[in-house]
Every structure is written in structure tokens, then in C-alpha cells.
């Protein structure tokens, strides 16, 4: 049984996870768990990151050269692999963010239009 809270959470759309990871890394190097946590917190606990999907995504981004990785020590003194945005990744983020904004605006317009029509009836 899903709790109400879980029901309100949204599974990530395909392709959005990459963008979110890059966005989180703007604030500085972070390890996988931290990235997942940050996405969840920053989305107001709405976006739920499947941890199992997170690491292949990180691997993919690393292969594309958008992020780099290095072993380091976490705040609570645990050994962890820290990811960092590369200049190439930053450029990609900028482009992608623009595209997403455009898409989101367009979608919002259509959705609002429908709301408007429903209201008229």
C-alpha cells in the first residue's frame, strides 16, 4: 500500500535524471548518495530518485565527459566517490536547461489552455 506521501511523489521522466544530476553538481562536488538526497530535498521531496538508476546514469555522464570523479572523504568521514562538473558538462547543462524551459513553458501553456476551456464550459 502506498502512503499518501508516496503517491504524490513523481517518478523521474526518462532523460531528466541526467539534467538534474548536472544541476546539483553546480554547487560543488558531491557523492552519489548526496546527489540523490539533494534531488529529493530540492524538489520538495516530490522527485524520487531510484538509487539503482542513479549509478548507471553517473557512469553514463562520466563516459560522456560531462562529469569527473574522484575518491574522497564525506562530511561524516566515510570514503566516497565524489563527482564534479566538467566545463563540457557545464556547457551541456546550460543548453539543456534552456531546452527544458522552452518545453516546460510550452507544456504549461497547453495544459492551462485546457483548464481554461474546461472552465468556460
Amino acid at each position: 500500500m502506498l502512503t499518501l506521501e508516496e503517491k504524490n511523489r513523481v517518478a523521474l521522466l526518462q532523460g531528466t535524471l541526467d539534467l538534474l544530476i548536472l544541476r546539483i553538481l553546480i554547487f560543488g562536488p558531491q557523492h552519489g548518495q548526496g546527489i540523490a538526497r539533494a534531488i529529493q530535498l530540492n524538489s520538495g521531496e516530490v522527485l524520487l530518485v531510484d538509487h539503482g538508476a542513479l549509478y548507471p546514469a553517473l557512469q553514463r555522464l562520466e563516459t560522456k565527459g560531462w562529469i569527473g570523479a574522484e575518491w574522497g572523504v564525506s562530511a561524516n568521514n566515510r570514503k566516497a566517490r565524489f563527482y564534479e562538473l566538467t566545463p563540457k558538462g557545464r556547457k551541456h547543462l546550460t543548453e539543456e536547461t534552456g531546452r527544458w524551459r522552452t518545453l516546460a513553458t510550452a507544456m504549461a501553456r497547453i495544459l492551462d489552455l485546457e483548464k481554461l476551456q474546461t472552465g468556460e464550459n
Binding site: 552519489g32 548526496g34 531510484d50 549509478y55 563516459t63 566515510r78 566516497a80 566517490r81
Partner: protein, 913 residues
Amino acid sequence: MFPRRRPQSDFSAELQAHLDLEQDRLLAEGMPLEEARRQARKNLGNLLGAKERFYESSRWMWLEQIWQDTRLTFRHLRTAPAFAVTAILTLGLGIGATTSIFTLVHAVMLKSLPVSNPDQLYRLGNETHCCVWGGYGQGREFSIVSWELYQHLRRNAAGFEELAAFQAGDRFLGVQRAGSANPAESYQGEFVSGNYFATFGVGAYAGRILTADDDSPAATPVAVMSYSAWQRKFGLDPDVVGGAFQINGKPFTVAGIAPPGFFGDKLSSAPPDFFLPLSTEPYVQGDSSMLDQPNRHWLALIGRVRPGFNVLAMETQMRVALQHWLQSHLADMSPNEKTRLAQQTLYLRPGGAGITGMREQYEQRLQILMMVAGFVLLIVCANVANLLLVRGMERRQQTSLSMALGARPARLIRQGLTESIVLSLLGGAAGVGIAFAGTRLLLSLAMAAADRMPIEASPSLPVLLFAFGVSLATGIVFGIAPAWMAMRADPIEALRGANRTTRRAGSLPRMTLAILQAALSLVLLSAAGLLTQALHKLERQDFGFEQADRYVINIDPLLAGYKPAELEPLYRRIRESLGGIPGVASVALTLYSPMGGDSWNELIFVDGRSAPTPADNNISWVNRVSPEYFATIGTPIVKGRGITEADRRGSRHVAVVNEAFARQFFKDEDPIGRHFGSGDPRISGEFEIVGVARDSRYLTYGLSEPVGPFYFLPEGQVTEHLLPANRTGEIRSQYLHDIVVRVHPGGRLTEEQARRALAAVDSRLPMMLMRTMTDQVSSVFGQQRLMARLTSLFGMLALVLAAIGIYGVTAYSVGSRTNEIGLRMALGADRGNVLALILRGAMTLIAIGLAAGIPLSLGAGQLIRTQLYGVNERNPAVILLAVAALGLAGLLAALIPALRASRISPLEALRAE
């Protein structure tokens, strides 16, 4: 650029770190330790899934996956042993048959002599002439030469580093080790020029090889022994090197041993045991020597061309030299030879493969066998493809489920492909095993004296690569289709329930394959039928002599050192001694017994006729026989008389001719009492015809043509020829090779009896071979028998495979139509209807296959026409028989599943839904 591959351990460590961090967080939120650990794990999701997806993104994954797929394949195959064994054996048979045939083809047709730089070797002649050619003309080209012509060509062809000459025909030698008590034994010998070994670039294995110094009349007579003879007959005895031997009664020293792989200048079933210098030929052959006869051509030539010389230019140069030489003999030429002088030419051809008479002989047959093996391989591939398709069908449900659960199509295709490639490679391995065993068998069937053949019977590296390539191609080609079908499997359909589909996907390719098999099998069966019929026709023809109760013994009085004058008493004593054996009815000697493999022909000049023009065909074969010959061999005299005791030295010179001779030279006139001569128009009154014998077959070639003209002369009568060359031939013709013994019906003659009777005449006289007349005749058809047997064998194999194919298609269709059949029966169809329904489907396939196969069979018949010896290649009886065999086999194969279908219980079939 690829990033360096990240080790999996690193990734595992990262995931572990994640778990620890998540656990820390949950603990910090106040969760109990156990709960926190569980929750952390849950949040991470499927850890294994994450690992796997990480793994797949790495670029080495495919290698690991191949290994995984292979292991999976083996696991699958173990669960379906019947499928695996059938597929591997079927493939093994097909690949084994192809590999065996290809090994033979490679050995006989493609391989070079085992000498250094065979590509620099060039031989004289387009055609292969054998063994002695007389006169100053040689048909279309000079392919063998006299010793004098050899010397002339050698002086006038500067481009050759070495130009070697060697005997074109085989020669038996009587060899006895000096001081040995055993009688002389017969060996194969070959006269070769002093630079023979130097030309081939072959050194001695032990002692020394022949040199130019050995090839001179003044030199001490030496010989080189083959390694094979040294091993076989002398147990590698080191004392043989430098040892004294008697060759044809003349002392010789064995100078050395040729290397083990060297089998002379041609691939032959009887490679030379002794190589003797050309200069010793008069010494060994005595009065019948040919060395100093300018117009006796008996030497083949091979030369090593100097690097940088143009072979075409050398050919032209040698043609000019040939014309010069012929001009210098203008005075000795007959008018015919003078007219043809300008046409005489010669050719230089690549000689790395040696003198390739054997290749020419076997090439066409090997090509046919290759085609037959290729057909079998095609049928095998069709069968295996069918098996794989069925397997693909059976696994559709599983595949659909896998896809529903998220397996990627590409991965599933690869899995299917891996399975078929693994299968075909296993089949290839089985095939190589079969090939190793089969090639030796094939070789012994293919060629007499195969144990002495210098042919490598084990598949060589290129052959193995060929087999590997064939099996790999089979696997890929016939693995893609089932894999493709597996990928198209619709998950919805699979989840709807097994066998409830109305579509029978994949039945079209399967039916096509079954039709293809039927068509190809028909081609093979009808080819086998035609070849078998041709063999029967050959074996059961009227030979014009009797085979039953007759034995042939080969001797050579020349080996025992007999002089021409001593021959008549020798023959009389042989006839008396053998005739004294109980059970022997009569004994006669002849120069050539029928179907013995050798022959002699002469130009005929009929007395009282104008000299024949070059366009006239006045050639006849000649044989020399002892009294009682015709009665002993069983050839009836149709007119006049045979050769009798009265026809001896000093009496009137007579001849018996055959019917073909009488027809050709006398047409409707009575030949008895007429005169003719041979070789020289000046002696056209030499022989008086005293009898006409029935046509009988002597030659082992031209078997589909009618018997040509023959005449028989009595032994002991010597023609006084005016030309010296003809005189030598006359002497040679007095040395009779074959004894024909007729026993009383049901009687026997053992080899021991014969040997003892001959030893009583002269212990020096070696008995070279004894066999029944039937064996001698059937040995001539060994090749034809091999072709007929192998094609029949492959035809049967194809028939069985086609039947399996039909069975498979029908059984599968019955299986997938169980519900439909149950429904039909519930609605009132009886068992007979069901049987008819299923059989109709199967017979339609066979009928289409046959319809496609008949034109193909006619085409195949056209291709093998030269092997059919006059049997009509569009033989309706043969094709009908093949059609009937295939139809019957197909019917039987379809009957089993059809009967099973007719026994389906409608209730159960419907309940099974």
C-alpha cells in the same frame, strides 16, 4: 577516445559507500540500525540490477556476454540432447563428406610437387603424351621428345637454368641385390637426365643424387633409390647406399636415396623406385634401346626458368629450334610427315605440378564429386536450419516472456545466433573427425595402390580452414532466421497462452526448406541412378572375350635378360609347364591381354592400293599372340583360322584381323588372302590375312565408342623392316608380357601353382602380377564404380535427410494444429479425413519439390554426360525411379505424424485448451 575501463570492484566499493552513507542518514533521523540498513538497501533498489546496468555500459561487455551466451547454449543443448545430437551429426556428415572430397581435390588438383620453388618450373606440352611416339610428327604438338631432340632443345633454350628429361612412361625393372639368393623382383624404374634432381632442386636423403657426370656412356652405372622403396623393401638398411645391385641383369651401384617426400615428376599410383641415368638406357634395354633413335619420342621435359626470362619468348625460340631439327631430318621423313611439317609446334606450360596426366584423368570426376558433396552440404544446411527453426518456435513462449520481462531483442538474437554457431562448430569438429577417417577410405576406393600414393590423406591446414569456414557460414546463415523470428515474437501473443495462435508464423520458410531438400535429393538420386546404369552398361557389355575361368599372369622376359632368339623356346616351355598343372585347359601368351591397360598402334598399308593421303585414317592396333590364343581368351574366329603352331619363324607371315579391321580396310570384300603391311608403304605385302576374329574390347579408354581395327600377329615371326626405328619396335614387340590361362569350368589356379610352374621354366623370371580376367576387367571400371558408389551413398544420405525434413515439417504442423484437428473431429471428421488432410499437406510439399527437382536433374545429367558412356542422360526410367523413391520415403516420413494426428481424441484436444 574511450575512457579507461573502470574496474567492477571500484563500482562495488562505490555502491557500498552509498549504502553506508544512506544508513548514516537514516540513523541520524532516528531509525534503529537494523531498520536503517534494510531501508538503505531498499532505497538503492535492485543492487544487482544496478551492477548489471553498469556492467553493460562498459565496452568489454560483449566478450563476457559471448562467454555467457556460450555457457547458456551448452546448458540449453544439454536439456535437448536429441536435438543437439541430430544437429551435430547431420552437420558432421555434411561437412565431413565435403572435407574429404576437398582434401582429395586439394591433393590431386591444387598441390605442387614437393620441390624447391615449383613456380619456376615449366614443362613441355599442353597435352600429356605417353609413352612412346614414333616418327617426325606428333599430332597437335610435341609433348614428348627423343633424346636427340632433347639435346637440340637444350642447346637452343638459353632461358633455362636446367632443362631435365625423363621417361614419360612407366618401366618395370628386374632388380636383385648382389649376392642375394632371392630371385629378381620387379620395381618401377625411370630413366632421367643427369640434371634431373638439380632441376627440381632436390638433394639426396643419403649418399648422393645423380649428377651430369653420371649421365655419360663412360660413367660407372649408378642409380638413385626412392625413400619409399628403401623403407618398404630394404628396411632403411644403410648398406644399400653404395651397395651393388643387378638391374635387368646388369651391375649397378646405388649412389644414394632420394628424399622421403619426393615422388618423382608426376603424381602416379606407381612412383619410380629407381632413377637411372639416361646414358644407361642402352645398357639396360639392350637391343630395344630407344636412346639413339631420333624419331622415337619417349622423354618428357621440365625445366627451371632463370628469373627474368620471358617464357613466351622462350616458347617461340624453342618452336624455331623444333622446326630446325625437323628440317635436319627431312631425308628420313615419310611424305605424310613432310606435308605436316609446318604444323609441328610445341608449348611451354607451368610445370610446378609436374606432368599432370593423373590430374587430367581425375579432374572431371573430382569436380562432379565436389558438386555432389556440395549438394549434400546444402541439404544438411537446410535440415539444420529446419531443426533450428523448430527450436525457435518451441522457445517462442520463453522468448516472449523474456521480452515481456524486459530482455533486449538484440541480446535475444545474439543468444540464438550463438547457439547455432556453437552447434555448427561442434558439427564442424565432428565433420573433421569423419573427414580424417573418410579421406583414407575414399582414397583407397578412388585409386588403386593407394597405400603407395604420394598423397597426403589427412586434411591439411587449408582444408581444415575450409571446413571451419563452411561450418561457421552454415551457423551464421542458418542461425539468423530463427533468431530473427524469435525477436519478432509478440509478448502479448505468448502471454495469451501456448499454441492458441491462429497464425503459423515461420511455416513458409520451413516448407520452403523441405521443398529444397526434396528437389536436391532428387538431383542426387537421379545422378546416382545414371552413373550406376552407366557402370552396369560398361560391366555387362559384350567384351568379345570370356572372363570366367581365365587368369592373367604378367611377366617380362626382358627383365630376366632373354635375347630375342631365345624367346620362342621360352614361350613354348612356359605353355607346357603351366599347361601341365591339373585343371588347366589351355595356355597362351600375348603382348597385351584385353583391358590390361597397354596398347600399340601402327599405320596400315594395304597391298594393291594407292598410298593413303594424310586425311585417311589408316591406323590399326596391333597385338602379338602365341598359338591357341583365341581359344584360350574365348574370342570366336568368324572366318578363316586363328594363329596355330604352324605359324612360326620362317613360315609365311600371316595375320588375323578383327571385324572392325575387315570393315574399315576391305568393306564388302573378302579379306581372307589379302595382304597388308605396317609402318612403311614399301612392305605392304608383308602379312597375309588368314582369319577374321570377332571384335573384342582391348583398350581401357574410349569405352563408349565401338571397337577399333585390330590385327594379331604370331609370336616368332619377325618382319624385316627397312627403317631402323621400325626394326627396334619389331624386336620389342616380341617380348610378350601376358600369359592367359584357361582352367576347366569350376577349376582354380593358385598363385603358388603358377609361381612354381614359372620357376620350373626359369627361376630368374619374375612373376609380376596374377589376377583373374574378371578382376583385370573390373579394375578398369574402378573409377566409374567409385563414382557410382559415392554418388549413390550421397544420394541415400540425401534421401534420408529429405525424409527427416518432411517428417519434421509434418510433425510440427500436426503438433500446432492439435486443437484444429480436435475441433474438426468434434464436428464430424473421421480418422480417414484427418489422415488425408495431413498427408495432403506433406505430399504437396514433395510434389512441389519433385517438380522443381526434375528440370534440375535433367541439367545435372547434362553436366555428367561424359561419365555416362552412352547412357541417355534424359533417361526417364532413372528419373521415374528416383521420383518414386523420394515419393515413397516422403510418404513414409509423413505417415508417422499423420497417423498420430488421426489418433487425436477430440475431447482431450479441446480440453487441453
